[in-house]
Amino acid sequence: MIKVFLDSDVVISSLVSKLGASHQLINNKDVVCFISDVSYKELLKVIKKLGLDEKNSTILIKSNLKIIKLKKSSSDFKNYVNDVDDAHIVAGTVELKTNFLITYNTKDFIINKIKEKFNIQIMTPGLFLQFLRSKK
C-alpha cells in the first residue's frame, strides 16, 4: 500500500465527479489517502461554500481518507510554496512521511525545492495513477 497526501482540490474533485481521476485515486485499493486535521476543517468550509451535500461529503471523506493531526507549524514550510496559505499542505505531507503529494495546484508549490529537501514528488491524480500502472 502506498501512502499519499492529498491537497484539498483533489478531495473536492473526487466529491464532485465520480468519473474523474481524483475519484479513481481515492477508491484505488493500492493507495491509502491522507489529509490533515487542518485540511479537514478547510474542506468542510469549501463544501459549504460550493453548496455540496455536507452530510454525504463528510461521510465520504471520513470513510475514504485518513486524517492526521498536524504537529508541525505550517509557517516552517512557507519557503516551499508560492502562496503561504498552501504551506499546511507541505507540512501535512512531511508529517505523514510519504513521498507523494497529489494536487492539481502544481504551480503554487516549489516542486524542485520540495523534492530536494523532503524527497516528495508532487503529481496530479492522473500522473500518479499512471505511475501505479507502471509498477504492475
Partner: protein, 102 residues
C-alpha cells in the same frame, strides 16, 4: 483550374478538422515518436499494448493509442483528468477564499 483543385483540397482539410476525425499514425511514425524500433511497435501491437487497426496489409494506429507519449498518461487517465478539470477553476477559487479567511 489548379486553383479550383487547391480550394477543393483546402475545403476538405477544413471540413475534416471541423468534424474532428482522430489522427492516425503508421507503425514507423509511432516508432519515431516513442523512440522504439519498428519491430518493437509490431510486437506491442501483437500483444495488444498498442491498439491498431489493420487495413489490408498495413496498420494504422489512432492517436488515442499513443496518448502516453503526448500527455504522459494513458488515454483513459487523460480523460479522467479532463473530467476533473471541468470544475477545477471553481473548486480552486473556493479553496483560495477559504485559505485567505484564516
Amino acid at each position: 483550374m489548379p486553383i479550383d483543385i487547391f480550394c477543393g483540397v483546402w475545403y476538405k482539410i477544413v471540413m475534416l478538422n471541423q468534424i474532428n476525425i482522430p489522427k492516425t499514425y503508421t507503425p514507423e511514425q509511432v516508432a519515431l515518436i516513442l523512440q522504439l524500433t519498428k519491430n518493437t511497435i509490431y510486437d506491442l501491437i501483437d500483444r495488444g499494448e498498442i491498439v491498431a487497426k489493420k487495413i489490408g496489409k498495413v496498420y494504422r494506429i489512432p492517436v488515442t493509442s499513443i496518448y502516453f507519449a503526448l500527455t504522459g498518461m494513458d488515454y483513459d487517465l487523460y480523460l479522467a483528468e479532463k473530467e476533473d478539470f471541468k470544475n477545477l477553476d471553481k473548486i480552486q477559487k473556493a479553496i483560495k477564499e477559504v485559505r485567505k479567511e484564516k
